[in-house]
């Protein structure tokens, strides 16, 4: 990881709002779901940035916004010097040579009517990079890289287990030698014993090919293991961003603290000594506007200022960003 270089991918105040419509014939906007509400971060070459948060906090929408599958409402997403949010048509299509994705559900993300060879070879075919013979060779090579038997080429997805399917999805993402791979909950649907296989594979591939990951998961222990830096999201915003060890050792935002304390550790000796911060209530809906901090309604350390003003994400220690009045000296 080289931080002196300029970032490979840079997000500035990205917002994705979905209109809520009502009315039978004449649709009227009656409000907005603020799925992503001002997210900024940089991704450097060769690093893994973890994105964690509970369901509905906007992790996947952020990923889709980067991939331009949901066009951002406002803000900028730059891949080196290219502004992705302005791209249309062919130039946009070309960025997928550099930007690829692995999805959560290995059952839904592979076309059941295509063979493994067709699935993995499709990106190569779309960009007309190799003739059919060379493509076959490349697909065999890719299958071998992800630990599958190249003879499986003509089989269909239903013949594979969940872990093997996820390997097929990884092979497809690697087909074009991308620079950034976005992993959207790649191991959440897998069993514990298979999960470790896939995490190790993802790490080996990164060592070998040097690409950057944006690793999205709700499981903080998996994210901590694989990431260099971790960003914690709550209600469409990043509330804390820091190197993986720092976020575990000295979490600053009350939400990060609660999230960490809520994760059970598989060791009864450690578990009996831990103090659990139990948050009250549920995550409020993203369709409302709050005058103050979004977390104020559940925060155990709420102050008066939290109801009035919105904290900004600011650097509280070198490389450690948090958006909370507790650590911003107010």
């Amino acid at each position: 990881m080289n931080k002196n270089n300029s970032p490979l991918l840079s997000l500035k105040d990205v917002k994705v709002h979905f209109p809520i419509q009502a009315g039978l014939l004449i649709k009227k906007n009656i409000g907005y779901i603020r799925a992503v509400n001002g997210v900024s971060f940089d991704l450097f070459k060769g690093e893994t940035l973890g994105l964690v948060g509970e369901s509905g906090c906007g992790k996947s929408t952020t990923a889709k916004a980067i991939l331009q599958l949901n066009r951002p409402t406002s803000g900028s997403i730059k891949l080196e010097d290219t502004e992705l949010t302005k791209l249309r048509g062919e130039p946009l299509r070309q960025i997928y040579k550099r930007l690829q994705v692995i999805y959560q559900d290995p059952y839904a993300s592979l076309n059941p009517r295509m063979t493994v060879g067709q699935i993995v070879g499709e990106p190569i075919m779309c960009f007309k990079l190799l003739d059919s013979r060379a493509r076959r060779g490349r697909v065999e090579e890719l299958l071998e890289i992800v630990g599958l038997d190249p003879r499986f080429l003509n089989r269909y997805p239903h013949e594979f287990s969940g872990g093997q399917r996820q390997r097929i999805g990884i092979a497809r993402a690697l087909a074009l030698d991308p620079e950034i791979v976005i992993c959207d909950e790649p191991v959440s649907a897998l069993d514990v014993s298979i999960r470790a296989q896939i995490i190790n594979l993802l790490e080996e591939l990164q060592e070998k090919f040097g690409f950057s990951y944006i690793f999205i998961a709700h499981d903080l222990s998996v994210v901590k293991h694989i990431s260099n830096r971790v960003a914690v999201m709550y209600l469409g915003k990043i509330v804390e961003l820091a190197p993986a060890e720092t976020i575990y050792d000295t979490p600053l935002h009350p939400y990060t603290r609660a999230l960490l304390s809520a994760i059970p550790i598989p060791d009864p000796a450690v578990e009996s000594k831990r103090k659990r911060i139990i948050l009250k209530g549920d995550v409020p809906g993203p369709d409302k506007v709050y005058p103050g901090c979004d977390f104020a309604s559940r925060c155990p350390k709420k102050m008066d200022v939290c109801d009035r003003e919105t904290p900004q994400l600011s650097e509280v220690a070198p490389g450690h960003f948090a958006s909370c009045f507790l650590c911003n000296g107010k």
């Binding site: 069993d191 014993s193 999960r195 470790a196 499981d219 304390s261 059970p264 009864p268 450690v270």
Partner: protein
């Protein structure tokens, strides 16, 4: 020693399919002590849910078949009991909280109707009394303004709230056994912490025995006194919680614990991974079912299936190898 409240002996459940017989639960035995929490851990398809569904008569027959075994509850065998008798126990003395709070509540009925049903049938409450009791139960599981929420439909509750409703419903007839089948798997971590906390609190108040079924070793670590580890329809290890985690004796438990990324890990090291896949339960490997994936397997493991034997006080393991000494047991 206290008498166990539930005693399972050599339970076998099979499913007859066109491809062959699936031995989903293949001869398991265990006891549940009153007032304690027993954890059942394993991966998907290892038979953890089929176990409780078998003795509660929730397995559709056919294709399912309880091929043998007994489940003694308060001196009565639940296996082979008449349906009408079993119905008096189920939901009354033994209650279940299912994994998915979205699908285990009826979307067409108000919470009030679903919560009072058990009380009226099992305890003979009048509708009015049952309603009052239901409101009190919702209050005890921490649902704000329960007298209003009782008239809501399930979709008006969030996932965590729905699971609270399920828990309130399960507790309505004060069961002596509460079976929690992956109660927090569908929930977010902060909500999971709330629900686990609630289960612990309610157990100390009601004294019910809990059978906690989960694939998450982290959840059982803080919740249980004893743990059963299942693999491919068999119990491979049985121990009290602290010794299972500090000294796992079966290679599968050992590997499972090592393959978990831990939040409190100091150094970043490669995760230990278990090669291969669980068997498909129709074509079981010869000998020990774990042998194709086991790092310790030797000659005997491929020939004979090990029995679950006692290896220390309260510890049982089904393995030919002593993984601590590295030789035959």
């Amino acid at each position: 020693m206290t008498e166990p409240i539930l005693s399972i002996k050599n339970l076998q459940t099979q499913f007859h399919t066109t491809d062959g017989v699936v031995r989903a639960v293949d001869g398991i035995s265990f006891d549940l002590d009153p007032g304690t929490t027993l954890g059942i851990v394993g991966e998907s398809g290892c038979g953890k849910s089929v176990t409780h569904m078998s003795f509660l008569g929730l397995i559709p027959q056919p294709p399912g078949k309880i091929a043998g075994g007994e489940a003694m509850f308060k001196g009565r065998n639940l296996i082979g009991m008449a349906k009408s008798e079993l119905r008096k126990i189920r939901g009354n003395e033994i209650a279940v909280i299912f994994q998915d709070p979205m699908t285990s509540l009826n979307p067409f009925l108000k919470i009030s109707r679903q919560m009072t049903e058990g009380l009226e049938i099992h305890k003979g409450f009048s509708h009015k009394d049952a309603l009052a009791k239901a409101v009190a139960l919702l209050d005890s599981v921490g649902i704000p303004s329960p007298d209003k929420r009782i008239n809501d439909y399930p979709h008006q509750f969030s996932g965590g709230m729905r699971q609270r409703v399920m828990i309130a419903m399960a507790l309505s007839c004060s069961p002596s056994i509460l079976i929690a089948d992956e109660p927090t798997t569908a929930l977010d971590v902060t909500i999971q912490a709330q629900i686990l906390d609630l289960l612990k609190k309610l157990q100390s108040e009601t004294g019910a025995a809990i059978m906690l079924i989960t694939h998450d070793l982290g959840v059982v670590a803080g919740m249980t006194e004893k743990i059963i580890v299942m693999y491919a329809g068999k119990i491979v290890e049985k121990a009290d919680t602290s010794s299972l985690f500090s000294r796992p004796l079966h290679p599968y438990t050992f590997a499972l614990l090592k393959s978990l990324p831990r939040l409190d890990a100091r150094e970043k090291e490669k995760l230990y991974s278990i090669a291969g896949l669980p068997p498909d339960l129709i074509h079981n490997p010869k000998g020990c079912k774990f042998n194709p994936r086991c790092a310790f397997a030797t000659g005997k493991c491929f020939e004979e299936e090990p029995e679950l034997v006692e290896v220390g006080p309260g510890r049982r393991v089904a393995c030919w190898i002593d993984i601590e000494k590295g030789g035959a047991r």
